[in-house]
């Protein structure tokens, strides 16, 4: 398919915005200035001001000589970028791929779009008219490459729509600046009397390279479409997206179920075709009152089975408020991964499908209870109990180090150690008795101490001396004393766990 690009040039972007905010300014000469080296220098002008001969890079004092009734506004450096981003998103109504082209332009990839507006002429006219209605002074052009569209939008004198085969002819009468060259190159060209692209574009390439550098050749190639000139879209297109418009607004759960089934069938068919599976999926519902509602699911491994995904969505249908009815559904899969070859090394189990069943169960639980409420742990090489385990990211992740069954550890570990009252012989003996939850435990047997140091490269603080103790009832606890014993200082004892 032929690629077509539309370049939009906002001639007075900042001033137009000020006039939109305050319509009283529109007939007055307006400049936007910022302090540079102790002077107020103009960075943007309005159409009225530029008619009076005021240009950018003048100082405000000079401009006031030309036009005493000048209005000066302060420059906000972040505003042009914000304005362009907002305008770029507005343009998504015309084409899905829009990019901003700083400092004052937009670049749209319109391939395959203009026929919906009955041709490129009408398309261009619609965009320009609607931007003018918003109060922006714009020029736009359509061409086969972004660079040519850019040049024609800013310097073109005749037609703004350049057919694919006439790009070279369109570029010939334009000034060298139309190729977006660096200032030293432009100065040199001016000195040599090259006022038009046509006067050097047919020169032999080695000559151009020697005199003006590689960049000029690159710009020429990009303008003529020999080299790629990629756009950075504002909203990256998602290839895994399906939409379903509804003839009548949908309000019933059954209707939503049918819609999900339809969308999943389409998206899963494509996924299966390419040997991929999705990890996350979002269903967006455009309601009749203009609001968007969405539900998301995640899976523990790449999935392309319709039935499984449908069950995950089914759990969340009741959270999707249809309001006055849903007009359009869009299913997106932001995370898509290659389907792994079937492997059952971790979960073993009976039958080859054990891992599959388990993955489906985990997805179902995660969908209902939330991602933080379904966890699996892997060992971490830390002795400090709070850091002994880490969360596994996926169902197939294997431990990098081994569990150490030699160390005696409590079955229940308190999330934070709780302070206890203890009577213990000094300095290093296990306690004789301790009081926890208002109950006195007399200790009969004890093991320890097992000193665990806080890792100084992670955090600072005292070490812990852990004791495994058993009281006269046969109950077993994990106690520790924080830090060294020192006379006269109250030493702090904690209970940290219960042994089986």
């Amino acid at each position: 398919m032929q690629q077509r690009f539309l370049s939009i040039w906002f001639r007075h972007l900042y001033a137009n915005w000020c006039c939109r905010k305050n319509p009283a300014l529109s007939s007055l000469p307006l400049v936007i200035a910022e302090p540079q080296q102790g002077r107020m220098v103009i960075v943007a002008v309005s159409a009225v001001a530029s008619e009076q001969g005021i240009a950018e890079n003048m100082t405000v004092a000079d401009a006031r000589v030309l036009c005493p009734a000048l209005h000066v506004h302060d420059f906000r450096p972040e505003l042009p970028q914000q304005l362009l981003t907002a305008l770029g998103k507005w343009c998504i109504g015309f084409t899905p791929v829009t990019a901003i082209d700083p400092p004052n332009g937009l670049m749209l990839d319109i391939s395959g779009c203009p026929h919906l507006w009955r041709g490129e002429g009408n398309y261009l006219k619609t965009i320009v008219t609607r931007l003018s209605h918003l109060g922006y002074d714009v020029r736009a052009a359509i061409a086969g490459t972004p660079a040519t569209a850019w040049a024609v939008a800013r310097f073109g004198q005749t037609t703004p729509i350049i057919p694919q085969e006439q790009q070279l002819q369109a570029l010939l009468p334009l000034p060298p600046a139309a190729l977006q060259l660096e200032q030293p190159v432009l100065d040199k060209m001016l000195k040599l009397g090259m006022y038009q692209v046509g006067s050097f574009i047919h020169m032999p390439r080695p000559v151009l390279r020697r005199r003006f550098g590689e960049h000029l050749l690159l710009r020429i190639d990009q303008a003529l479409g020999y080299k790629p000139d990629p756009l950075l879209p504002l909203i990256p297109p998602n290839p895994w997206s399906e939409r379903l418009p509804c003839i009548q607004p949908i309000v019933t759960a059954k209707g939503i179920e049918i819609a999900i089934q339809h969308l999943l069938e389409r998206i899963c068919h494509r996924l299966q075709h390419e040997g991929k599976g999705l990890r996350t999926a979002t269903l967006k519902a455009w309601r009749a009152d203009g609001q968007i509602r969405q539900i998301s699911i995640g899976t523990s491994r790449p999935v392309s089975a319709i039935q499984h995904l449908f069950r995950l969505f089914e759990l969340k249908i009741d959270t999707l408020e249809p309001g006055e009815g849903i007009e359009r559904f869009v299913m997106e899969a932001p995370t898509v991964e290659d389907l792994p070859p079937a492997q059952e090394c971790l979960w073993g189990g009976t039958g080859a499908s054990a891992g599959q069943h388990l993955a489906e169960l985990v997805d179902k639980l995660t969908g209902k209870l939330g991602i933080n409420n379904v966890r699996r742990f892997l060992p971490q090489e830390h002795h400090w109990p709070e850091r002994a385990v880490k969360k596994a990211c996926s169902l197939n992740e294997l431990p990098a180090s081994t569990w150490n069954p030699q160390k005696r550890r409590p079955v229940f570990l308190l999330p934070t150690p709780e302070k206890i009252e203890v009577a213990a012989p000094v300095p290093d003996y296990p306690p004789m008795h301790f009081r926890y939850n208002n109950q006195l435990h007399k200790i009969k047997k004890a093991d320890g101490p097992e000193r665990i140091e806080r890792e100084w490269w992670l955090e600072e603080g005292p070490h812990r001396d852990y004791y495994t103790v058993e009281d006269d009832q046969g109950n077993r606890y994990w106690l520790f004393r924080s830090g060294y014993y020192s006379a006269g200082k109250p030493h702090s004892w904690f209970i940290h766990g219960f042994f089986a």
């Binding site: 388990l358 699996r376 004890a446």
Partner: protein
């Protein structure tokens, strides 16, 4: 001879009474005397077991006992699902009970209804070695649903009821209470020995309830005689120091 005939007759009676033995081969847990309490003298798999506990220490002992059984079950492969609303189970400790802690999936339901739902879904899933759920209260209806789920899939479930509001009838195959016992080291050396429990089997369908003392050693369960041998209980050495 007579005992043999009685055992054979019992095996025939059990299916007539509606007892369905699990399909998979029985597992030897190493607790010889305890096996006599169970129907067919095998630990009933493919069923839901109920465990009661009142104190945190009993709950920890129960978790240890259940982990020991689960370790035997997981030796044959498969995952374990542990449902608990409090996040206090410490995975590294499970490796002491023969479980690979990374093969345990911890699920934290936010209320009891979610716990029942999650346990039922897990019990329906094929290929799980065991499902452990800490859930204080359960109604007879909810427990029947669990029973139906295990009958379909053959999974084994452990329902740990900590401080239940009341002991309502529940459709489980067995009701246990595990409490910690004082440990004993070899040769009466000082220190804490292997975990030791008083195992009370309060109810068992088609079996004989009773009380046993078990110990979890490095190799598995070990039955200890209910009458402790006359061992001179030594005072801890620091107390001897004080008195002496």
């Amino acid at each position: 001879m007579k005992a043999e005939i009685i055992a054979r007759l019992q095996r025939e009676i059990l299916p007539l009474q509606g007892f369905k033995p699990a399909q998979e081969p029985a597992i030897d847990m190493g607790w010889n005397e305890l096996n006599n309490a169970f129907p067919n003298a095998t630990f009933p798999l493919g069923a839901v077991h109920e465990f009661l506990s009142n104190t945190s220490e009993q709950a920890a002992a129960t978790a240890g006992f259940v982990s020991g059984i689960t370790g035997h079950l997981m030796a044959r492969g498969g995952a374990c699902l542990w449902l608990t609303s409090s996040r206090n189970v410490f995975p590294p400790a499970l490796s002491n009970f023969g479980i690979d802690p990374h093969r345990v999936i911890f699920v934290h339901p936010r209320n009891e209804n979610e716990c029942h739902w999650a346990m039922e879904e897990a019990l329906k899933t094929e290929g799980l070695a065991a499902v452990i759920a800490s859930c204080s209260n359960i109604s007879l209806t909810a427990s029947r649903r669990l029973q139906l789920a295990v009958e379909q899939s053959g999974n084994t479930g452990f329902l740990l009821r900590h401080q239940p509001a009341g002991l309502n009838p529940v459709a489980t195959i067995a009701r246990w209470r595990i409490s910690p016992l004082a440990t004993q080291t070899d040769y009466n050396l000082p220190g804490v020995g292997f975990p030791r429990w008083n195992v009370e089997l309060l109810k068992i369908r088609n079996g004989k309830p009773g009380t046993w003392q078990l110990e979890w050693t490095a190799t598995g369960f070990r039955n200890i005689p209910s009458q402790p041998q006359a061992i001179s209980v030594q005072q801890p050495w620091w107390q001897q120091q004080k008195t002496g």
